[in-house]
């Protein structure tokens, strides 16, 4: 009798435990799959090069050549600026400027929120857009702390006013209905590397905005190479990044303009 009473009880508990274990197992498996399979969710993978840009605000004169070169090389609608030059107060009597490309964040909110993984990290840290995959929901625009993304509200048709004076288009025009942004001129970097050139040193491998700058205010190079110009500039000078408190880890660094008299 006691056997009969106890055995179903045991069975019951066992079954319950079994179910519990199964549920936990399935949940863990599903969870780990979700985490590992999601390319977007992990931080940017560390490739051979980790590109970064350094912008020296004491050298920037706000001429906007960078913007024009960018618009030509990337065939950008004149109403859109991937690289915006903004006023940033004064130091002494001098107007200071702040050019703002895409920050290519290490923890990019746009990549995290994109529902279709149209925004993604390249191994070299560049935050890329797959314009063929994007559905145009604009959540990335909502999430970007730097207003680095512009939506194609209309189709860009006709001639690009920045061509040919500022360069020739190297990438396809984006269609209507997707947001677009700076790509660190990945096409130039990739082609330059293939030709054995060094981005940031050889013009053929360097983003258009860096080449176009008449005062040498922009530097480009690999952050993981201690001998690169960007690493040296950051080592020798105080620098800051935009909205650093958000923890996005921008790959664009600024060397603040300082008052020469005070310094």
């Amino acid at each position: 009798m006691s056997d009969k009473r106890s055995s179903p009880m045991e069975k019951n508990i066992n079954r319950r435990e079994f179910l519990k274990l199964t549920a936990v197992g399935v949940a863990v498996a599903a969870g780990s799959r979700a985490v590992t399979s999601s390319k977007a969710s992990s931080a940017a993978p560390k490739g051979k090069h980790q590109w970064a840009m350094v912008i020296d605000q004491s050298k920037c004169v706000g001429c906007g050549y960078c913007t024009l070169a960018c618009q030509a090389h990337n065939d950008v609608n004149p109403e859109i600026q991937w690289n915006k030059v903004l006023k940033d107060g004064t130091v002494g009597e001098k107007q200071v400027f702040l050019p703002r490309p895409c920050m290519h964040c290490e923890k990019a909110p746009c990549v995290e929120v994109c529902p279709v993984e149209a925004s993604y990290y390249r191994d070299d840290g560049i935050v890329m857009m797959d314009y063929d995959r994007c559905i145009g929901c604009r959540y990335c625009q909502v999430a970007c702390p730097y207003e680095a993304r512009s939506f194609n509200w209309e189709k860009f048709e006709g001639e690009n006013p920045a061509v040919p004076e500022w360069g020739y288009p190297e990438v396809e025009r984006r269609p209507r209905g997707v947001p677009e942004k700076c790509s660190f001129c990945y096409q130039t970097i990739d082609r330059g590397l293939a030709l054995g050139k060094q981005p940031g040193v050889d013009q053929d491998a360097t983003p258009a905005c860096v080449n176009a700058c008449p005062t040498g205010a922009r530097m480009f190079g690999a952050l993981n190479d201690p001998e690169s110009n960007v690493s040296k500039a950051l080592h020798e000078n105080p620098s800051y990044r935009l909205r650093e408190n958000l923890g996005t880890g921008p790959r664009v660094y600024y060397l603040p303009a300082v008052d020469k008299k005070e310094a």
Binding site: A34, V35, S37, S38, A40, S41, L86, D88, G89, L98, R100, P109, E112, V113, C114, P115, V116, E117, A118, R133, C134, I135, G136, C137, R138, Y139, Q141, V142, A143, C144, P145, Y146, E147, R149, S150, F151, N152, W153, E154, K155, P175, R176, G177, V178, P179, Y240, L242, R243, L246, G247
Partner: protein, 412 residues
């Protein structure tokens, strides 16, 4: 002859038809010319349509909450109301889908969200849940669609199969509860995870969206049922049932009011860039009327009193007013939340002051938005007339016929 044609019913349908036609024109223009003809900008990329989308999902939440109540918590006698709620839910979710298709820049790629998964994206999760839940709602409404006279006469077998889905209601209720809890909260989290906009960045967002959706969804279902029963004899309600659920809504409102008030007002004690400006907008600025009058007073306090004070709750007119106000308040909450986060433009240049954006929906946006609402009204009206969507006397009969099948007058 003409007099026979012009009845209140046909006039109502004609009126809705005009609105739908306007929407058809607006929608065609949007697909043809692109989103450039809207007043959306890079600073305010989500506007009127996203509010309609969020609101129709929220107001469709009566389906999962009432189905959960009926099939999981054993409140079987409220089944007739859950039935209406399911239909309202289906309408709400299809409205949301319509709004989203208009709102995305590449509508022809809507299916990408099913193929390319970013499991970390709240919007991905919402999309998946909405698609799956829409399927659940379709299954749940099968027995309702089976009420169509034409279907019963012409395809009795299909009709009876569709009716049979009713037996899976408890399972569907469980699945629906899971999916709804996920995406109703995630819609709030869609805003809540955006660190770049401090006005949104808080964990309460998902809780508030979930809670307000349950309250608004139930309220809209009750209101629609009562209104239908006033306007047509096709809708038959059991007022005692509605009155009990309405009282429950009254109690829920206390909780919602408590959370919403603390959520908004606990921000006041220190200056927090972006968040303080947002709070200023909703308490003293542009949206103050929306916040204090529509959301707080008319959306919560007034209906709370009307629904908890017995004489007004027993009075059908006041109860209807109260339920309607609750739904309006939930819509206002969605609008205020969405727009405030955009109007406050956070500077990224160090030391720069916070700027303000502006947004007024364009005519095309309004026409398309109104048409989406008109579609919802049309679907509900047709449902009441032809599918007995609001018929609280129906279900008891249905249960009896399951037991005594021989008495069912099947027409073959």
């Amino acid at each position: 002859m003409l007099k026979k044609l012009i009845t209140p019913w046909t006039a109502w349908l004609a009126f809705l038809g005009i609105l739908l036609l306007g929407g058809l024109i607006a929608g065609t223009l949007v697909f043809w010319k692109g989103l450039g003809i809207t007043n959306l900008t890079d600073l305010v990329p989500w506007g009127l349509w996203i509010t309609i989308d969020l609101s129709s999902i929220a107001l469709g939440a009566g389906a999962f909450s009432l189905c959960a109540g009926v099939y999981l918590f054993g409140l079987k006698r409220y089944q007739p109301i859950a039935r209406t709620a399911t239909f309202v839910g289906l309408i709400g979710y299809t409205m949301a889908t319509l709004a989203l298709i208009l709102d995305i820049g590449k509508p022809e790629r809507f299916w990408h969200s099913m193929i390319y998964w970013n499991t970390h994206s709240l919007l991905w999760e919402v999309t998946m849940c909405v698609i799956l839940y829409l399927s659940v709602l379709m299954l749940e409404t099968m027995p309702i669609i089976a009420n169509l006279e034409w279907l019963r006469k012409r395809l009795p077998r299909i009709a009876s199969t569709m009716e049979g889905v009713h037996h899976y209601a408890p399972i569907l209720a469980i699945v629906g509860l899971g999916l709804s809890s996920l995406h109703q909260s995630s819609l709030g989290a869609t805003y809540g995870v955006i660190k770049a906009r401090p006005f949104w960045f808080k964990p309460e967002m998902s809780v508030l969206f979930m809670l307000s959706a349950i309250i608004g969804g139930i309220s809209l279902t009750l209101f629609a049922s009562m209104l239908a029963s006033r306007l047509t004899s096709k809708a038959k309600i059991n007022d005692a049932l509605i009155e009990r659920v309405a009282q429950f809504v009254g109690y829920l409102l206390i909780g919602y009011f408590y959370f919403r008030a603390w959520d908004a007002l606990s921000m006041t004690y220190a200056y927090d860039p972006g968040r303080s400006e947002g709070l200023n907008l909703i308490t003293k600025g542009l949206l103050a009327f929306n916040f204090w009058i529509v959301e707080m007073l008319l959306g919560m306090i007034v209906p709370m009193i009307l629904l908890l004070y017995k004489p007004t709750r027993m009075n059908r007119f006041w109860r209807m007013i109260a339920l309607f106000l609750v739904a309006v308040g939930v819509v206002a909450f969605r609008w205020d939340t969405n727009i405030t986060g955009f109007l406050v433009v956070m500077p990224y240049v160090p030391g720069q002051a916070i700027a303000y954006a502006s947004y007024q929906p364009s005519l095309v946006e309004i026409m398309a938005g109104v048409a989406i609402i008109a579609y919802g009204l049309t679907a509900f009206s047709l449902g009441v007339k032809y599918l007995r969507v609001v018929d609280h006397s129906l279900v008891e009969a249905e249960h009896k016929t399951v037991k005594v099948e021989a008495t069912e007058p099947v027409t073959i």
